[in-house]
Amino acid sequence: MKLVVEYLVGTDSMTKANLMVASGTYPDIVSAGETAGVFIAANAFIPLDDLIEKYGTNIKKIYRPNELELSRAQNGKIYIISNNRPTIDNLYPAAGFYLSYAVLKDAGFPVVKTLSQYGQLIKEYMAKNPKFGDADTIGFTLPTDGYRVTALQYGAARFLGGYPNDGVTAVNQETLEAQLVMRMSVSKDFVKFMNDMWNSGCMDKETFMQKDDQYLAKVASGRLLGIYDQRWAVVNGLAALERNGYYDRTLVAFPVVVDGVEKEYYRGPYAFSVQGVSITTACKDPEGVFRFLDRICAEDIQKLNAWGIEGVDYSIVNGKFTRTPEQWQKSFDTDYQMSSGIAQFNFLPRYEQTDDPVYGKFSDGNWVNPALNQEYNDMRYKDYEKEILKNYGVKTFCDFFEPAYPARYQPGWAARQQLPQDSEEFIASEKALELALRK
């Protein structure tokens, strides 16, 4: 069987979606991402409910019942099988309040839990170490260039208040009540913290006018003691810091909350989003195509996608999947991934890649996600990182954080992406973001 995939050229998926709908010409299947609403409104997708019931043996096995329920459109039909499955590894947390290892070492390796403790550690270290080499030490800064200003608008505050990442909203994990982060008192607490850091001479005076490359250059310089950020956004700065050999200045993330908040939700629920694959009305053989989508979800295919070929890319020792150091290194190589097909079919329906003991494992008990093997961490961590972990007596940098858990709803950022841009809800959230910056 041959799968012929046309990828989006450029970045404007909305224009492309509207063009396809206007022409009425579709391929058999579409992975529409955030443009799914355009296709559904044009009746370009067929309901999948009957096909799931009749031929979806594997799909019903690997998707949680509530995920299939959440996949229903407003008319109650399922048009999308999600390919945006929850994925986690335990190497590094996705976000946190970062502190320089030098600060932690100086303070005797404290586990940092509250914002006041975090600020105090920066102040004390800065008082003793105002310079790093010839440069002034910077106590705390934030990314504020373009859309990165979201860290200031709501990104840091929602975590400080004990909420997971739901975009501009904070969702109470007990009641599922949602509110705008910018209207919550914790936003004010965060501003007060920054004001205190500013008055103490610890806040970076360029915070509110720096470009992102300047921000990352500060991370790479080793003179920076603290930031709030998501790891993916700062990973290039951290890599440069490592290349510069400033191992003692690397940044370690902690799940910091304001005083009075008892539980942190930095890792939050496994992020499930209804973005995925749909069968179009132009498909001449929907049953056959659906059978392909279900076959792709079978365990033997998923092992190939996640782990590769047994005996070539991994071995089974005492029932456990394992890789030699050489096999691990090859699995990290994007060229090898492309040529071998490892992880190349994640745009189709697939297993979740979480540490859930049921949905995150194959029937033989092995993790779907190779990154959940401790071997993976041992290969990935550098010696200086292993030293940090040893000093703290933990195995991974996620051990400071509460574990993730199954989702009961789509994350707020995914729901917001699906809102029509002329809807009242979308306009209200945009207005609130604008007002948060004006204040």
């Binding site: 069987m1 799968l3 989006l8 975009g167 056959g288 994640n346 995914a414």
Partner: protein
């Protein structure tokens, strides 16, 4: 053997043959009795009297797809 007796014997053989064939036909048509023994742990061989599994539709030789999102999307803020 006398002629009349021979005819009688042949008739008897014919009747017996017919009876055997009839018994064989009946036997082959009898539905297997309901099994009361514990459910076997391995899949039973087809008895020929079970409803055959519904044939799944074949997968097409070629499927066309449009992918509207980047393969490696960054984590939303």
């Amino acid at each position: 053997m006398e002629g009349g007796q021979l005819m009688k014997t042949r008739k008897l053989y014919s009747l017996a043959a017919v009876a055997i064939i009839f018994v064989l036909i009946i036997t082959s048509c009898v539905v297997a009795p309901v099994q009361t023994a514990p459910t076997p742990t391995t899949a039973p061989a087809s008895s020929g009297t079970e409803t055959p599994t519904e044939k799944l539709p074949p997968m097409p030789k070629e499927i066309t797809m449009f992918h509207a999102t980047p393969l490696a999307a960054t984590t939303p803020a």
